[in-house]
C-alpha cells in the first residue's frame, strides 16, 4: 500500500460538534407521536371496530368499484380530449389554437365542483338534447333529464375538467422534445414515431399525478348522488351516525388505492426512462434478487 516517502498519517478522531437543538426537536416529535398513538388506541370514539366491520361491506365495495371506474373513465376522456386539445393548441391555424386556448381557459378557470353541479343541472338550460344537422332538422332527440344522469354529469364534469389540465401536460411534453430530434425524424421521412415516445417521458409522471388526484376528486360527485366510495360511506353513517369511523374507513380505502397507483406509476416511469443518462434505480424485486444471489456481484458495473 504505502510507497514512496513518509508514513501514513494517523486516522482523524475529532470531537463531534454538539447539536443540542436537534435533540430538543427530536424529543418534541417523539412526545407528539406518543400522544397520537395513545389517543388512537384509547379514544373509543375512533370506533376502530366500525372501520373493520364496514371495510368490506358490500355497499362500500360497490362504492370502491365505482370510484375506480369513474377514475379510469374520466382519465380516459381527459387523455383523449387533452391530446386533441394539445395538438390543436400547437397548430399554426389561429382558429384551432384559439379554440383550444378558450376551452382550456374556461375549464381550468372554473372550480370542478361548480362544473359538476352545472352538468347535473344541464336540463334547466337545454331541456331537450338531440342529434341532427346544424341549424337543420334533428334526427334523434330526447329529454336532457333522462340522458344526463348523475353518472353522465359526473363523467362530463370530471373528464372535461381533466382534459383542460391534461392538454397543458401534453403540450409541455411535446415542446420538451429537442428540436434536433424532430429534424432528424423529418430528414428520415418520419415524425410521430420519434416525437411521441420522447414526449411520453415528460408526460408520464404528471399523468400518474393526475390519476391519483382524480381518484380523490371523484369524491366530489357524492354531492350529486353518484354511488361512489364517499357516497356509500355517507349512506352508512346517515343511518348509524358513526361519522368519524366511517370517514376513517373511506380515507383508508383512498390511501390503499393511491398507494397502488403510485407503485404502478413507478414502473411506467422506468419504462419511458430507457436510454436517458438517468439510469433508473433497481426495482424492489431486482434488489431482492441481487441480495439473494449467493455470490455478491461487485457494484462497479450497474445494471443498465
Amino acid at each position: 500500500m504505502e510507497r514512496g516517502e513518509g508514513h501514513h498519517p494517523e486516522e482523524i478522531r475529532a470531537v463531534p460538534l454538539r447539536r443540542p437543538w436537534r435533540w430538543v426537536v427530536t424529543g418534541c416529535v417523539l412526545v407528539l407521536a406518543a400522544m397520537l398513538v395513545r389517543s388512537l388506541a384509547t379514544n373509543s370514539r375512533f370506533g376502530w371496530h366500525y372501520v373493520g366491520t364496514y371495510f368490506f361491506a358490500p355497499p362500500v365495495l360497490h362504492g370502491v368499484g365505482l370510484t375506480l371506474e369513474l377514475t379510469a373513465a374520466s382519465m380516459a376522456i381527459g387523455v383523449v380530449l387533452g391530446v386533441t386539445l394539445a395538438v390543436m393548441r400547437l397548430s399554426p391555424n389561429p382558429i384551432l389554437s384559439g379554440a383550444s386556448w378558450l376551452f382550456i381557459w374556461f375549464f381550468r378557470g372554473t372550480p370542478v365542483f361548480v362544473q359538476i353541479i352545472f352538468w347535473y343541472n344541464i336540463a334547466a338550460l337545454y331541456p331537450q338534447i338531440g342529434l341532427g344537422i346544424p341549424f337543420g332538422p334533428q334526427v334523434v332527440h330526447g329529454s336532457a333529464n333522462t340522458l344526463v344522469t348523475s353518472l353522465v354529469a359526473a363523467l362530463l364534469a370530471l373528464g372535461l375538467n381533466e382534459s383542460a389540465y391534461y392538454a397543458e401536460i401534453v403540450r409541455a411534453g411535446i415542446l420538451a422534445v429537442d428540436h434536433g430530434q424532430i429534424e432528424a425524424a423529418q430528414s428520415l421521412g418520419m415524425m410521430r414515431k420519434v416525437v411521441l415516445p420522447q414526449a411520453m417521458r415528460v408526460i408520464v409522471p404528471p399523468t400518474g399525478n393526475e390519476t391519483i388526484s382524480m381518484l380523490k376528486t371523484t369524491s366530489l360527485v357524492a354531492y350529486i348522488s353518484v354511488y361512489e366510495l364517499l357516497y356509500a360511506t355517507q349512506q352508512i353513517y346517515a343511518a348509524n351516525y358513526e361519522t368519524i369511523p366511517l370517514l376513517i374507513m373511506a380515507s383508508l380505502w383512498y390511501l390503499v388505492l393511491t398507494t397502488v397507483l403510485t407503485a404502478g406509476q413507478y414502473y411506467v416511469e422506468r419504462y419511458y426512462a430507457r436510454g436517458t443518462s438517468y439510469a433508473p434505480p433497481p426495482t424492489p424485486l431486482q434488489r431482492l434478487r441481487r441480495n439473494l444471489r449467493p455470490v455478491r456481484v461487485p457494484f462497479s458495473s450497474p445494471v443498465r
Binding site: 429537442d178 434536433g180 430530434q181 432528424a184 428520415l188 421521412g189 414515431k193 420519434v194 417521458r201
Partner: protein, 254 residues
Amino acid sequence: MATPMVKAESVHKRFGALEVLRGITLEVAPREVMCLLGPSGSGKSTLLRCINHLEQINSGRLYVDGTLVGYEERGGRLHELPEREVCRRRTEIGMVFQRFNLFPHLTVLENVVMAPVAVKGEARAVVAERARRLLDRVGLSAKIGAYPNQLSGGQQQRVAIARALAMEPKLMLFDEPTSALDPELVGEVLDVMRALAEEGMTMVVVTHEIGFAREVGDTLVFMDGGVVVEAGVPREVIASPRHERTRAFLSKVL
C-alpha cells in the same frame, strides 16, 4: 450530360427581415463530393437544410435529381406538396447533423432499423441484416445493443451516418459532422466519410476540416454573407484563393 444531383438557381432564403441566402447558384453532379466552407452565419447550413426541405426557400429554384424541392410546377404556378410527398422525397436524401440527433430511447440497431421499416415498409429482417452490415462498415458492430448515451461522440456520429445510409439515399448531406467532436475523435468520422466518397456517393459537406476538403472534395465552395464567393477545385482554391475574403478566412483556419 447527366442530370445534376443538386441544382440551385439563384436561391433566396429569408428569416423575417434577415436574408440568409442571397442568390445561390450551384450544381452538384452525381458522384461528386462538394465541400461548403465559410464563416458562421454565411448560410452554408441553411442551404443544406433547404436542399432537404427542412426550410422553405423564398425565391429561386432548387432541384434534387431533376425534381423541384418541396413544390410541384403545374400550369405555370408552384403548388405546395402534401406532407406525405415531402416525406417520400426526403427518404432519398440522407442527412447527418452536427449534434448527431440519434433517438435516445432506441438502441443503436433500432436507430438504424426504424426508418426503413416505418417509412418504406421494408421487412424488418431485411433491414436488420442491412443495418448490421452498415454498422460493421462504420466499425460499430460491437455496440449494436447500446443506447446512444453510452457512446462517445465519434461513435454516435458513425451510427448517425449508418442510420442515414440505411435508407439507401442517392444524396448525403453533412452539416458540420465533426464540429461537436473532441479533436481525437474527428478522424474516425472523416474516415467513414472518405470511404463513402470513394464508393461514389454524392455528398454535400459543410465542414471546417480543410484537410478533408482538399483530399476528398471534388469541388470547394466558399460562402460568405449568403452568396457564393468562390468555387473551384479544392487544392487550387486553398493554395491560391482569388478573393480577398476567401484568403482572409483561410488564413485563419489553416
